[in-house]
Amino acid sequence: MTEYLIKNGFVYDPIQGINGDKVDVAIKDGKMVDAGDVTKPTIIDATGMTVMAAGVDVHAHVAGPKVNVGRNFRPEDKLFNAAAGSGLKRMEGGFSVPTVLRTAYLYARMGFGFSMEAAMPPLYARHTHEEIRDTPIIDQGALPVFGNNWFVLEYLKENEIENTAAYIAWLLNQTKGFGVKCVNPGGTESWGWGMNCETVDDVVPYFDVTPRQIVSGLIAANEYLGLPHCMHVHGNSLGEPGNYEITLDTLKIAEDYSPQNDFGREVVLHNTHLQFHCYGGESYASKSFESKSKEVVEYINSVDNISYDLGVVTLDETTTMTADGPFEHHLSHMNNLKWANTDVELETGSGIVPFIYNPKTFIAGAQWAVGLECGLFIKDPMRAYITTDAPNAGPLCRYPRVYKWLMSAKARDDMLDNTLKYGDKIRERCYIGEIDREISLYELAMMTRAGPAKTLGLGHMFGSLKAGLEGDVAVYPYNPETDTDDPEKIEYAFGNAAYLIKGGRMIVKEGEIVDMGNKRTFWVDAKVNENPMVERDIAEKFRRYYTVTQNNYTVEGHHFVPNPYVIEVDATR
């Protein structure tokens, strides 16, 4: 295999403590090696450029049934957003919900190598994997949703952790899933009857279990299994004014748990798109709404077993989509745009609604501020990851813009003074005006590669340039010595990687995509003790309540997961 030596770049690798030093970075046989270990390398001159491990996305919606509803029901999202294929590249289209090809090319241009699809409905696992398979270049995994699953609700009502774990292990295997996602625990099942769970102590109709019990039990089962990734939660009452207390209630559930795994993961709970969960006040009006990001992040700063991602609102027209069915219904009543919903038997639900975050409104500007605050209040950037919950708070292609806002107080002030209509009100009702912190490139590397890799339990493969890790390196046309005057350079550079090497193959060369790579699908195969009760329950539910047979539920490897990377976990006791 080709050897590469990247010379003269400013290197940022928090795992090795490299902070902008000019060190040589070497790749051999698809892996990172010490610079002395390459013999006849292809030299990449990174003079005046920034070098980091390839990006790792902890949470995005880029493949699967709701993403495809978003594509198919929004032809307008393709207007002015299509490009013809050329060379190896196929045609691409879409802005907030890009086609799978565009998703891959976008990630490559942004220097990313791994992306986690954040919500896979198990019954639709095949669909998710078909899209993942057709998304070239980047490695991907998918998190099946568990927070409203009937098995989980029934077991956790009785606090049966071992049975829950056995069921999770079975489902990961059936769906080729990566970990445990929980969306609006209990609320989406309630939505099966048009209802919701709004606090952690609301009771799920019929199942008689609370979100608190679900979150607690799923963390316990996740640690019982010792999965690479921690329990990944989107809590109750997303987007509701005053919800920060519910968020704190959810986060505090983690106090009872410590991480148990062989992957170097140090957290037990990942709260996704924290921005949507940090609201005070009673309405979206500027006289009531207030940011509570400081209160929430201060709590997270005070513990060491929670991570989160930001979910920054990018002030675009986008397409919201989530397994939080009742939330999307609620949203459709706020903006009266089209609304799609799918409830999935025994498992979950979902909703999709286009949304315009209009910078001329107070609330969109305030949401923008809250998201950035979530990134700026963190003490340990290894536990706060930059996302837009793509496409919910903003399209994937806006990541570099978010970096700009986080890295430049000037860029933020410019937004507050010149773009947002209610900049002053936002300064008043949010914390953004009092923060002068600017995220450094070193911290950016923590928040976009080292940190997420660690929380996903993939720190032994991604997120650093240490010898032995995957040969995934991004080179950005950004000179930290001379380019600091203009924040626009940040946005440009991180959206236009000069080079991306992935698994030792040159994917982006001098800004052009030149290789479709060797994409892999990551999934976790957890071994547990035989559990005849859970096996019987599964057989019974399939016989009586599912509309596919148990044998037709399994996602068989062959054409759904043609290039798997299986992580094995032994949880037999």
């Binding site: 086609t99 669909h127 089209k338 609304w339 799918t342 038997e345 309540y545 509309t547 037709n552």
Partner: protein, 438 residues
């Protein structure tokens, strides 16, 4: 002892039943019996065993007679037809696997084709309505487990989706519907007294073509506003009562078919049917589900969605995907003489398109890939028989509620026969060579 294959998926209609059992001869070569399937489904399996089945490609000669050709010759003709055409139409895609659809899309992209599926003449109007107003829906199991109000609007599952009512909508005893059909109120809205209508608790026998008015009246009734004495021929008392019954249920579902998608009003009928569903969600839980016909028409819309962003009527001629039903739809292209070659796979426009369109197909260079001899194969220049997906080769298909199910291979195809996927792969390779893109 006959060998029984279980969990077989029926590759016929959008119900995509996956509980079939197929009895094979001792040597595993012959299908003897198909259990659990309806007559249509069973017949499809048994048809594949027909002794007089065409197993080799055939070219139409000048004199109208057919001459057997090799698959390689068929590949060569097809690849050249697509590459030589300025604007080829690649139509069908509803009775094949998603993998084949994906390969077909790549070919379409390279040659700059217009690509369309059978939705163009069935639920295309539904797809347009969904683009206008969205769609609150649910999987069929949600309906089996929860629905206590079931409406069939402009569809006749007793004939078109024979096991739909027993598997999903009327008879099953679900988790919250333990009494099966006794837990449910069944409505049929149809101008005809169909076999489905005969089973209904309430049959609203509306005047033909007045679906929009009746749906609109239900919205009015739901809001408690005044109605004229009759709407669409239905007395207002019955409309108020219907609205009240739908609203008072715990979970209402509306299934709809071509009786509304292609009667007067088209996509506007579906717009308002979705609006009714949306309104009902303010009072209770409600979902709406199109009764998709072919077993994988839904899948082709999905595959094109993730590859191109649109579910049908794709125009790839400019190098990027464009979409404009009414312009980029098959019949419009054919009638306007805009396409100069026709490729058909996985459907039978010869039987379902207006005769004017079929005449155009007959005049153009054309190829039909289909296990059967069909009206389309009869008017095409080349007929390429292939293995039956779901019988002789597996592959993914999407049920009417978009749930993907992997169909199964039960028996071997006749010796030397290619599958859709294999044939398309060969065409793709040849197209790449001809385009110098290999």
């Amino acid at each position: 002892m006959a060998k029984i294959v279980t969990d077989v998926v029926c590759p016929f209609c959008g119900t995509l039943c996956d509980d079939l059992e197929v009895a094979l001869s001792d040597d595993g070569e012959e299908i003897l019996e198909v259990y659990n399937a309806c007559t249509i489904g069973a017949t499809k399996f048994l048809h594949s065993q027909a002794k007089d089945r065409v197993t080799r490609p055939q070219m139409k000669q000048e004199d109208g007679s057919w001459k057997e050709v090799t698959y390689d010759e068929a590949v060569e003709y097809t690849a050249n037809l697509l590459v030589d055409a300025k604007k080829p139409l690649m139509y069908g895609w509803s009775s094949t696997s998603c993998t084949a659809q994906g390969t077909g899309s790549e070919i379409g992209e390279i040659v700059g084709a217009c690509m369309d599926n059978t939705a163009t003449v069935c639920h295309g109007s539904t797809l347009i309505a969904v683009q206008d107003v969205g769609v609150p829906s649910a999987t069929l199991g949600e309906i089996a487990n929860r629905a206590d109000r079931v409406v069939f609007w402009g569809c006749n599952p007793a004939h078109a989706h024979p096991r739909h009512m027993s598997r999903y909508s009327i008879f099953p005893r679900g988790f919250f519907t333990g009494k099966g059909s006794k837990s449910r109120k069944m409505f049929v809205v149809d101008p005809r007294n169909t076999d489905t209508a005969k089973m209904a608790d309430v049959h609203l026998q509306l005047e033909q073509g007045h679906d929009y008015e009746l749906l609109s009246a239900i919205r009015v009734a739901l809001r408690g506003e005044a109605l004229p004495d009759f709407v669409a021929g239905i007395p207002k008392e019955q409309i108020y009562e219907t609205a009240e019954t739908l609203r008072s249920g715990r979970f209402t579902v509306i299934f709809f078919g071509m009786g509304v998608t292609h009667s007067l009003g088209k996509n506007h009928n579906i717009d308002i049917a979705i609006a009714v569903t949306r309104d009902l969600n303010d009072y209770t839980k409600a979902a709406i589900v199109p009764m998709r016909g072919h077993y994988n028409v839904t899948g082709s819309g999905q595959v094109w969605g993730w590859q191109f962003g649109f579910p049908f009527c794709l125009d790839l001629t400019r190098g990027f995907a464009r979409y404009n039903p009414g312009d980029s739809s098959s019949n419009d292209l054919l009638i306007r003489d805009e396409v100069d070659a026709v490729f058909v796979l996985g459907s039978d426009p010869g039987a379902h398109f207006p005769v004017g369109s079929v005449k155009k197909i007959a005049q153009l260079p054309s190829v039909c890939i289909d296990p059967h001899i069909t009206p389309t194969s009869a008017v095409s220049k080349l007929h390429v028989p292939v293995a039956f997906v779901g019988v002789e080769v597996g592959g993914c298909a999407y049920r009417m509620d978009n749930v993907p199910i992997e169909t199964r291979k039960v028996v071997e195809p006749p010796e030397g026969m290619l599958t859709d996927e294999e044939f398309l792969q060969k065409v793709l390779t040849r197209v790449r060579e001809l385009k110098g893109a290999a």
